[in-house]
């Protein structure tokens, strides 16, 4: 099934992204983003929205049943509202599927991060491990990323310098993004000597966190055309999980990203992603992840993303810009909203609203989000004019 011209993003609003937000509660972040998004779409949420999808994980919120605290600040009382406990792009997929049934015209998607409230994030993340086999090891969750990076470097002959180049690129890109929480001018050496976190992963190769909220308004084709002259069409969407077991997963290869990408390309009718897509926003929770995901998504052959990055091919001025927004490394990791931050940049670029970092002449973009350690779940979306 090809999705062409059936679902569009007609409104985008966001709040943040900042490393702390002591002036705003998570509800206020959500409200801020929602009001901007509704204004952008030109809709009245009480009258025009058929359904709401919020994305959040209980342990990130410090609340059981996050769904309870969603409706008020989204103006969603007495409406169909659901939570997706997943990646932001899973929420986008849920909203798109609702519209594709033909029963819903306008659906809102929300995700947020109040990471600065979480004082013990690694301890929280450790609860994601298999409680019987893996959690008793009592290791810092980032060890999974260190081991994965080691395997990826060994299998693909990618160098550590090439991974560090991702950090230098993305944080420099963030200097041109007023919404980025962690912009910096860094050299490759700065990254390499920033101290080991889980060998070979260094501190600057791990995305710091940011607070923020993102809200999109999605609409069916007819409604989208009525609401805006510039709908951003959802051309394809895909998501997939690999095995969760540490003992049986392929450590070097992001198979979940390959499967998610294949589904997104299939639903977009894309045969050759590298030729048919102009730029991408790809999960870079850890520097090597951008390279691993870029390869798994079929944008370059396995083992080539590193040298491509080092040569500037994925720079904002390169042949195929990746994470011109600054990515998670430059904007800050937004917990479950991270994938929607990737989508946000694609939307802004396609609308020509990306300011100083605008890439000229882009028509089609890809966004990919990953659920973080220790998971093997990801989601991809192709957007186009």
């Amino acid at each position: 099934m090809i999705l062409r011209h059936r679902v569009a993003i007609v409104g985008a609003g966001w709040s943040g992204f900042r490393s702390i937000s002591p002036d705003l509660s998570y509800k206020e972040l959500m409200y801020d983003a929602a009001v901007k998004s509704y204004e952008d779409a030109g809709i009245d949420p009480r009258r025009d929205v058929d359904s709401f999808v919020s994305v959040g994980e209980d342990y990130h919120e410090g609340i059981s049943i996050m769904d309870e605290y969603v409706p008020d600040q989204l103006s969603a009382l007495h409406r169909p509202v659901q939570t997706i406990a997943g990646e932001g792009i899973h929420g986008l997929a849920a909203a798109a599927m609702q519209i594709l049934t033909g029963q819903f015209d306008v659906v809102v998607v929300e995700a947020h991060s109040k990471a600065s409230n979480v004082l013990t994030l690694p301890y929280v993340e450790a609860f994601a491990f298999d409680p019987v086999y893996n959690r008793p090891l009592k290791a810092h969750p980032i060890y999974v990323a260190g081991m994965e990076m080691l395997r990826y470097l060994a299998e693909t002959a990618t160098t550590h310098e090439e991974c560090a180049a991702v950090v230098a690129k993305n944080r420099a890109n963030a200097l041109k993004n007023p919404s980025a929480g962690h912009p910096a001018a860094l050299s490759i050496d700065d990254v390499l000597i920033s101290g080991p976190v889980a060998e070979p992963l260094t501190r600057l190769e791990c995305a710091d966190h940011s607070d923020g909220a993102i809200v999109f308004v999605l609409a069916s084709a007819e409604t989208a055309r009525a609401l805006t002259d510039h709908p951003v069409w959802l051309r394809g969407i895909g998501w997939a999980n690999d095995t969760f077991r540490l003992e049986s997963r392929p450590w070097g290869d992001a198979r979940y990203a390959r499967a998610a990408g294949e589904m997104a390309y299939r639903t977009a009718g894309i045969q050759s992603p590298r030729e048919e897509i102009d730029f991408a926003e790809i999960d870079d929770t850890f520097a090597y992840k951008e390279l691993q995901h870029t390869e798994a998504l079929g944008l370059c052959p396995p083992g080539v993303a590193g040298e491509w990055t080092l040569a500037g091919g994925t720079a904002s001025s390169g042949a195929f810009p990746v994470n011109v927004s600054g990515g998670a490394l430059g904007q800050g990791h937004l917990l479950d909203a991270t994938g929607l931050a990737r989508v946000l940049e694609v939307v802004l670029q396609l609308r020509g609203e990306a300011g100083q970092r605008q890439i000229e002449g882009v028509e089609t973009g890809l966004a990919f989000g990953w659920r973080g350690v220790p998971t093997t779940g990801g989601a991809a979306v192709v957007l186009g004019n």
Binding site: I65, H90, L100, Q103, W239, N241, G377
Partner: protein, 395 residues
């Protein structure tokens, strides 16, 4: 068939297979194993394998029960999701019925032909009792310092309901008795009991007045799974597909203390959405069998009124008159419900959808309601007395 209100040409979606584990107080199996047992039984029931499944929908309630963060990632391979699109929807206690709604929109979107819907709950992991995990559902600033639990707030709601309509405890206790009787015929039930009486309920220990021990469903481990298919697949797989005719869901404000608790207006809104989609204008005539959510006995009555199957305050009298018995005019919770079969939160909701599936296919064995019901409804409820989820299915 879809009713006249189902807009456009939405593809039809059917339930074609169902399976469930036994509901028990403390399962030996891990959460993954429970999920797979239910998934496997559902696949077997329609002679499918995982190769036939295009996507997996997972439903499971608070991560705090299992103490597992991002629980659907952990459960994904147990639910049959390896290498497939996996998504977890979550609306608190309403999750079980919502998982089926989510399965519906996966298929009705046209993206997938066959979807496996798996709901799992392992409450026994939370020691000594999962009520402690429920403390974390409350607002951290305004409510959590009170250190109350769910029984406490549902006691408030039960009181509001009883006071509004002048109901007695005896009026309400008959629901618990009916459901535990019905569950005695369910091979997977935890608390089936043919001998229990209204006096047993009224003499059980008080937990938070007016809630007594036998007014409440038990802590339970278990899993339930469905296979949902597009019409061309459904007709290939079975000659008895059960069609999804309408779905509805609705959420009220988080500020539950400011609401009139005597009537679940959000359930009414969800039911109106589902009835509209199904083209139902007279639910009392057009719904033949109902599985409303019954974690407490008063909730079955409360929900029957919210679903507009009885006038406000009238459901207790109908229950006392036997209308909701398995052989009554409107059989309600013929499965035995949460009070009888058990309440593994998300799995309990999906069990209700599975029961409608089995009843409409005349496959419910000793639980089968007479008269060949052609249309049934399942409903769940959750969050802070806040969310309603409704699915209407027919032959």
């Amino acid at each position: 068939m879809y009713g006249n209100r189902m807009k456009g040409n939405t593809p039809r979606v059917a339930v074609v297979g169902a399976g469930m584990t036994k509901f028990v107080r403390r399962a030996q199996e891990t959460a993954k194993e429970l999920a797979w047992e239910a998934a496997h039984l559902a696949l077997q029931s329609c002679e499918m394998t995982l190769d036939d499944i295009d996507a997996v929908v997972i439903g499971t309630a608070p991560d705090a029960f299992d103490g597992v963060h991002m629980k659907s990632e952990y459960l994904s391979d147990g639910c049959g999701g390896w290498g497939k699109p996996v998504i977890r929807g979550y609306v608190g206690g309403g999750t079980g019925v919502f998982a089926a709604i989510q399965g519906w929109y996966h298929v009705a979107s046209g993206l997938f032909d066959n979807v496996l819907v798996v709901c799992e709950e392992k409450m026994s992991s939370c020691q000594p009792h999962p009520q402690a995990a429920f403390l974390t559902i409350f607002d951290h600033t305004t409510e959590r310092p009170l250190k109350h639990n769910l029984l406490w707030i549902f006691a408030l709601e039960m009181n509001a309901y009883m006071n509004r309509y002048g109901l007695s405890k005896r009026d309400i206790a008959s629901v618990s008795v009916k459901n535990k009787h019905n569950a005695a015929d369910h091979p997977a039930a935890l608390l089936g009991d043919r001998d229990i009486t209204v006096d047993d309920v009224l003499n059980s220990p008080v937990l938070a007045w007016p809630v007594q021990r036998l007014d409440v469903s038990p802590v339970t481990d278990g899993a339930v799974a469905l296979v949902m298919s597009a019409s061309h697949e459904a007709r290939r797989v079975t000659n008895k597909p059960i069609w999804v005719e309408g779905v509805g869901w609705n959420l009220d404000t988080a500020y539950w203390t400011n609401r009139d608790l005597s009537y679940p207006v959000y359930v009414e809104e969800a039911a109106r959405m589902a009835y509209d989609m199904a083209g139902i204008t007279e639910p009392r005539k057009e719904i033949h069998i109902a599985e409303p959510y019954d974690p407490f006995d008063y909730k079955e009555l409360h929900h029957l009124e919210g679903l507009m199957l009885f006038d406000r305050g009238e459901a207790p009298k109908a229950a006392a008159d036997g209308v909701t018995q398995r052989d009554g005019d409107l059989p309600v919770c013929p499965s035995g419900g949460l009070l009888g079969v058990g309440n593994p939160i998300a799995a309990a909701g999906l069990m209700k959808v599975a029961e409608i599936f089995w009843q409409l296919r005349s496959e419910a064995g000793a639980r089968q309601v007479p008269g060949n019901p052609r249309r049934g409804l399942a409903q769940a409820w959750g969050d802070l007395m806040q969310v309603g989820t409704v699915i209407v299915m027919g032959t």
